[in-house]
């Protein structure tokens, strides 16, 4: 009996690439009777790039926070990179998180510090303590890694600028560098361009998806821009009234299919 169970598992593995994120029966409420979402289940395969769409307030951000183990939930199970996020020890959770990252709508840089120190902080999952607090004290490899990440987003010349002196687009690029510097396997981007003007938004989206594709990072992102979801996602999850209304490959979808989600 054990054997057959194992065989089915092995067969399942052979059929689909291993999932970086497995969500089963996820239910979350903020103490109210009506949950934000109920009984959600989906997988995200290694290296996939998935768009999560839905109207404002449908719980996209909340779902992403649950996936990263940043927010507790009432029912179901979340397995991230093979670990059940609810049962990890604090140390194990830290190790898991050192392989993940979050790029939010707001860049969330620390305003009074230099750009380079902000990027360096992306390595705090790997190294802890004063040596990682500021670029002035950081080990040479860490500084080089941070500089390389800044290079990738095209801003090496701003390394010693204060973060609050940057434009919106530059700030978001620095936030991307901070998320990428630790070579994560799994990245969450929650409306990464919502606070930018359209031109800067396009530029940041292009850059972000070029980089994550090049590095093979698994990505789940939200956007209120249907075109972005269809253009950059390989697959679309549509959240409405607390359920997944859509779970389909982008190839067969048009923006009219998604328009209903925002009605």
């Amino acid at each position: 009996m054990m054997d057959t169970a194992l065989e089915t598992q092995v067969a399942a593995h052979a059929a689909t690439p291993p999932a970086d994120l497995t969500v089963r029966g996820l239910t979350k409420s903020f103490g109210q009777a009506e949950p934000v979402f109920r009984d959600l289940s989906f997988d995200i395969a290694r290296g996939a790039c998935v768009a999560l769409v839905g109207a404002n307030g449908t719980g996209k951000s909340t779902l992403l926070r649950c996936c990263l183990g940043l927010s507790p939930f009432e029912g179901g199970r979340v397995e991230l990179l093979g670990h059940d996020t609810a049962t990890l020890s604090r140390r194990a959770r830290r190790t898991l998180r050192s392989q993940t990252g979050l790029v939010a709508q707001k860049h969330n840089l620390v305003p009074r510090l230099t750009v380079l120190s902000n990027v360096l902080h992306g390595l705090l999952g790997r190294g802890s303590g004063p040596r990682y607090w500021t670029h002035m004290l950081a080990p040479a490899e860490a500084r080089d890694a941070a500089m390389a990440a800044l290079d990738k987003v095209g801003l090496p010349h701003l390394a010693l600028r204060r973060a609050d002196g940057l434009s919106g687009g530059q700030s978001q690029r620095v936030a991307i560098a901070r998320a990428l510097v630790c070579k994560p396997r799994f990245l969450v981007a929650d409306e990464p361009t919502a606070s930018l003007d359209p031109a800067a938004g396009e530029e940041v989206m292009e850059m972000f998806f070029d980089l994550v594709r090049a590095e093979g990072v698994t990505v789940i992102f939200t956007s209120h821009n249907v075109d972005h979801a269809l253009r950059y996602g390989e697959r679309v999850l549509g959240l409405a009234q607390g359920r997944l209304d859509i779970d389909a490959a982008t190839a067969g979808l048009s923006s009219r299919d998604l328009a209903g989600l925002y009605g």
Binding site: L102, L124, Y132, R178, C182
Partner: protein
């Protein structure tokens, strides 16, 4: 709808509001009575005040050098006590910040202890330290240190609780420890608040340090006491004027530094 009638100029207070006003008036009368209110004494105080001023004027200038040095000692007490207090406030504030490093009960206990430290007046701290370390400026410095700690640690913690949670969350998602998050995201963001609070702490310290001498804890306060005890009113007046000048100067300097260092982005 027809045009409304013009409202009355005064609304009739509700019964509850009326009761509130009456109670307030009763409390005020009761308090004035307890404070020994006497119109007669006020009437008689005018001539006495004029007499004091005529005997104190002009302020004494013969002991300016000695008083000046006493004022320097006062400032030393204030600066040393405030600086040590501010430095100690940072770790204590980390323990008093909800949801940052320590469990909730630790922040509650820390905040209670800080509340106690604040509740004890600076002169009482000075008396305690005079007993503990003897008469002199060291006792005064320790009193200022406690005063600054109670004030700064509390407001540093409030500043840290008020910072934007976004950067902390981004660092949490990448696996940072809480201590790293405090050092990299919370403290830098709270720094303008820390500086502003520290400058207020210094102003407060200078004000307090001028009277610590009354209980033998060093500084210029002793000269004020001796001046009055020996009916040397000109010297006492000089001391009062010196204190006023120094306190006002430090307040102005604090305001200037605050706007220079922090600018408008508090």
């Amino acid at each position: 709808m027809t045009a409304g009638t013009t409202p009355a100029r005064f609304e009739r207070p509700s019964a509850l509001a009326f009761l509130g006003y009456a109670l307030g008036a009763v409390i005020l009368v009761w308090a004035l009575d307890g404070a020994g209110w006497s119109a007669e004494k006020i009437a008689r105080s005018g001539p006495r005040m004029a007499d004091f001023l005529s005997r104190a004027w002009p302020p004494a200038t013969d002991s300016l050098a000695r008083l000046g040095w006493k004022m320097v000692e006062t400032l030393q007490i204030a600066i040393a006590g405030a600086a040590l207090g501010v430095v100690l406030s940072v770790p204590v504030a980390l323990l008093a910040t909800r949801g940052l490093l320590v469990p909730h009960w630790v922040t509650m206990v820390t905040r209670m202890v800080l509340g106690f430290i604040r509740a004890v007046p600076d002169l009482a701290w000075a008396l305690v330290f005079v007993v503990a370390v003897g008469l002199g400026p060291f006792a005064g410095m320790l009193a200022i240190l406690m005063d600054t700690l109670g004030f700064c640690a509390r407001f540093f913690a409030d500043d840290m609780e008020a910072v934007d949670q976004g950067p902390s969350e981004a660092l949490t998602a990448t696996g940072a420890r809480r201590i790293d998050i405090a050092a990299c995201a919370v403290i830098p963001a709270a720094m303008p608040g820390f500086i502003s609070t520290s400058l207020f702490g210094l102003e407060k310290a200078v004000r307090s340090s001028t009277i610590l001498g009354l209980v033998g804890a060093g500084g210029i306060g002793i000269e004020l006491k001796v001046g009055f005890d020996l009916f040397d009113y000109p010297t006492a007046l000089t001391v009062i004027l010196m204190i006023a000048v120094v306190v006002i100067a430090v307040e102005q300097l604090g305001a200037l530094l605050r706007s220079r260092i922090i600018g408008t982005d508090r």
